[in-house]
């Protein structure tokens, strides 16, 4: 800096130059967003191993703290079992859905509905947006592991989010509690559709908003909401959460409710990604 100061450029000129540079970058990335993907990918490939490393260090330390109370082996076993419980309870949910379907809903549909056991891969959450305003996180799998944009991300037995960007060894996931997130949902018992929208204001209460429920829908508190058949990006029948506080809107046309997600977003460490994309339904309304 000392040597550079001798050249003596007016700081004002540097300021003006770099502000212009930033503004043109903003405009360019608005117009040609995809052009920046290689740059993002390159930087991410350098940074994400570091994040992963630090994460491992952090996990290591917190694991060690836990062992003060528990025996190491039990802890490991517990973790494995928990993972299994998550997978099993997810599968159980699917079976339950099949049961509901057999019990009565099948008559409502001309077509047979299948809740397939989708192929999944597990990934670790390695970083979160540095900002407090968003709920976007990064996982340690990418194109190398066969992930694609719009794949659904589960945690435990519920929907956690959707992949929005994929790079070589990491991808970015937008969680369903993010302020920008919209998921088309459906009440499992009555098949009424609704829109599940993330809302920053409700995040503290651990809830998200459910909108556009038909006013004729016969629903009660604690009904399950799953991803609907009309969603273009989310596979059908993934549990989102349970509704509460159902209210009629002032328009008298639709109902609004709150939803408690089954996923604990405060403590999201491991997620499962369904490596199957929903086939595009081009004539459907595009709500994701």
């Amino acid at each position: 800096m000392r040597r550079r100061a001798k050249i003596h450029i007016n700081p004002k000129h540097i300021l003006i130059g770099s502000v212009i540079l930033c503004i043109s970058l903003i405009i360019v990335s608005f117009r040609f967003g995809e052009q920046f993907a290689p740059v993002k990918s390159a930087v991410g490939t350098v940074v994400s191993p570091m994040q992963k490393g630090i994460n491992t260090v952090g996990s290591f330390i917190s694991d060690k703290l836990d062992t003060l109370a528990n025996i190491n082996e039990l802890l490991e076993e517990n973790e494995k079992l928990k993972e299994q419980v998550h997978i099993l309870s997810y599968e159980n949910k699917l079976l339950l859905q099949d049961k509901y379907e057999l019990d009565g809903l099948r008559k409502l549909y001309e077509l047979d509905q299948k809740f397939l056991d989708y192929p999944k891969v597990a990934a670790r959450v390695i970083s979160k947006d540095t900002n407090n305003w968003y709920n976007v996180f990064t996982i340690d799998k990418g194109t190398r592991d066969g992930l694609k944009v719009n794949m659904n991300v589960l945690a435990g037995n519920g929907l956690a989010g959707i992949i929005t960007e994929v790079y070589y060894n990491y991808s970015v996931v937008r969680s369903i509690i993010d302020d920008n997130s919209n998921v088309s949902g459906m009440f499992l018992k009555t098949s009424d559709t609704c829109i599940v929208r993330g809302d920053l204001k409700l995040m503290d209460e651990g809830k998200i908003r459910v909108e556009l429920i038909s006013k004729d829908a016969v629903i009660e508190d604690n009904y399950e909401v799953v991803t609907s058949h009309i969603s273009p990006n989310f596979l059908q029948g993934i549990l989102i959460g349970y509704v509460s506080d159902i209210k009629l809107d002032s328009s008298n046309m639709t109902k609004t409710a709150y939803l408690t997600p089954v996923v604990d977003f405060e403590r999201l460490e491991e997620v499962l990604i369904i490596t199957e994309l929903k086939e595009p339904l081009l004539k459907e309304p595009l709500i994701d």
């Binding site: 700081p11 930087v43 940074v47 917190s62 390695i126």
Partner: protein, 168 residues
């Protein structure tokens, strides 16, 4: 050159800490803004140009990894760095309170503009809620961290200065 390496390293370390340690250091869902502390501290200690460049590079790193639009954070950090750089004329070697006040002020400005760009423009009007829930807790947390981080950065800066004086 040594200074350049130190700057690069500290940007990367702050960024990685901030983004990857969230599980262990977040309180009430709020993270301290380490990059902002870095930018403000060096701008205060070294002046406008350093603040501007550090702000630009930290912002561009955040943009590239997380942003949808490249350049927005860079612009915000850069302007904060530049304007805090004006306070360099009040710089005194053993004043540890002034930089912390600057950190608080710039974190408020950062939060405020962030709200305008990303929330107000999407029609989220309840500014008081966001102020209470996000901006203030972030300021408090950031200020607390900056008490320690500033001392560390100050030490690094003094050491760099000493070495450069020897060379000259």
């Amino acid at each position: 050159m040594k200074r350049f390496i130190v700057y690069t390293l500290s940007i990367v370390i702050c960024f990685v800490l901030q983004s990857a340690m969230f599980h262990y250091i977040a309180l009430a869902n709020v993270m301290p803004n380490l990059l902002l502390i870095l930018v403000v501290s060096f701008a205060y200690m070294r002046g406008r140009i350093t603040g501007l460049f550090l702000g630009f590079f930290s912002g561009i790193l955040v943009d590239i990894i997380f942003g949808n639009v490249i350049g927005l954070y860079a612009l915000l950090y850069l302007l904060i760095g530049y304007f805090i750089g004006f306070t360099n004329r009040f710089y005194s070697n053993d004043d540890y309170t002034l930089p912390i006040i600057f950190v608080a002020v710039s974190d408020f400005i950062y939060g405020f503009f962030y709200y305008i760009f990303e929330f107000l423009l999407r029609g989220r009007l309840d500014f008081l809620f966001y102020l209470r829930r996000f901006i203030f807790p972030e300021i408090i947390y950031t200020v607390t961290v900056s008490v320690f981080l500033y001392k560390l950065l100050h030490m690094i800066n003094n050491r760099l200065n000493a070495r450069e004086n020897e060379e000259a």
